[in-house]
């Protein structure tokens, strides 16, 4: 029988044991208690307070990588890879901790440090610096949220730097 009708697709349908474990056997609506959600959100907010210190450490590391790019051009590709990794981490975290500007600057830094063929120019190194400076300003000024006027100024000056260095590249 089996050889006559080879199986093309198998569907596995299991009893929902996870629901039994978490909601019991009784039917009806279950939810996560609002108190638990609120408590967890509070814990998250409390941890967020430590975020600026932590990200400052990363910014120092980015500065070191930038310095290495300036001092030893032959290491630029390795440095860019490292910078790209750090930017990726930061991009995922800033918004979670109330610093969406870090996310957006890190996103931009991540975007242009993705490895492409060819040499890495001095202008690209300058662009790294512009990003690092912008992020440092965000953390130093504790510019959380969209940052209002300061945030706008920072974004604008970073965008100006991008436009300037990309044009002359």
């Amino acid at each position: 029988m089996a050889s006559k009708n080879p199986v093309i697709v198998r569907f596995y349908r299991f009893q929902n044991r996870l629901r039994e474990k978490t909601a019991g056997l009784a039917p009806g609506n279950t939810s996560i208690s609002p108190e638990a959600l609120e408590k967890a959100q509070k814990a998250l907010s409390k941890m967020s307070e430590d975020y600026p210190d932590w990200v400052s450490g990363l910014i120092v590391k980015l500065q070191e990588q930038h310095g290495r790019c300036v001092d030893s051009p032959e290491m630029r590709r390795d440095c860019f890879e490292e910078i790209n990794h750090m930017a990726h981490d930061m991009k995922g975290q800033g918004g979670t901790f109330g610093y969406p500007l870090i996310t957006s600057f890190a996103d931009s830094l991540y975007g242009f440090t993705i490895q492409r063929p060819g040499d890495i120019s001095d202008n690209q190194i300058e662009l790294v610096k512009a990003h690092v400076d912008a992020m440092r300003a965000v953390i130093r000024g504790r510019v959380s949220g969209s940052g209002g006027e300061i945030g706008e100024t920072l974004s604008t000056s970073l965008n100006d730097a991008i436009a300037k260095y990309e044009q002359t590249d």
Binding site: L18, S33, L37, A40, L44, M47, T96, T103
Partner: protein
């Protein structure tokens, strides 16, 4: 409406950033999750799952109910972990719900994870509400697993279609369809 009791739930968490890891552990704990086993990358997660299979008494857990993993980790990333869980003969539970955390949300990346059998994607940056929603989706809307010659994972179709608009060629009564219940 009653509240979920996550006290007997065992979660394996693979996340390389210490900051995000401790954040996730404490968030899950505050939500009431009984056991959160946190490891630093996919390789450690595989090692842990092997131990759960081979020496559950020693590890102190019989079964992992949900795996939550970051995508971008070294040396073994989230995709390699997912592939191992879904396909490797040593995997203790090929059907375990798998939540992938990622800040790469480009459609092709999401598709790639889906084709590998991911259950849910948690995009960074996330909130507690996002985490809660993923847990509820896993508990309330589990999908059947589909096994074909080139796919193994939760059904990639989440919506229920009317018969008239259903494009799936095979149904439960078709030849070549085997249904396994458990």
């Amino acid at each position: 409406m009653s509240a979920y009791d996550f006290d007997r739930v065992n979660i394996l968490l693979a996340e390389d950033s210490p900051f995000i890891r401790s954040l996730l552990v404490s968030s899950l704990k505050v939500l009431g999750v009984g056991n959160v086993f946190a490891v630093e990358h996919g390789g450690d997660a595989i090692h842990f799952l092997q131990r759960v299979k081979n020496e559950p008494m020693k590890v102190g857990v019989q079964q992992i109910d949900i795996v939550i993993s970051n995508w971008d980790m070294h040396p073994v990333d989230g995709m390699m972990l997912l592939r191992w869980i879904r396909r490797h003969k040593d995997s203790p539970d090929r059907f375990v719900p798998f939540v992938m955390i990622t800040s790469y949300t480009e459609p092709e990346r999401i598709l790639q994870a889906r084709e590998m059998g991911v259950t849910e994607i948690l995009a960074k940056p996330f909130t507690i509400k996002n985490i809660g929603e993923k847990l509820i989706s896993i508990i309330e809307r589990p999908r059947q697993f589909v096994h074909t010659k080139d796919f193994f994972g939760p059904d990639r179709r989440r919506r229920k279609y009317d018969v008239a608009t259903e494009r799936r060629i095979l149904n439960d009564k078709s030849e070549g369809v085997e249904i396994i219940r458990g």
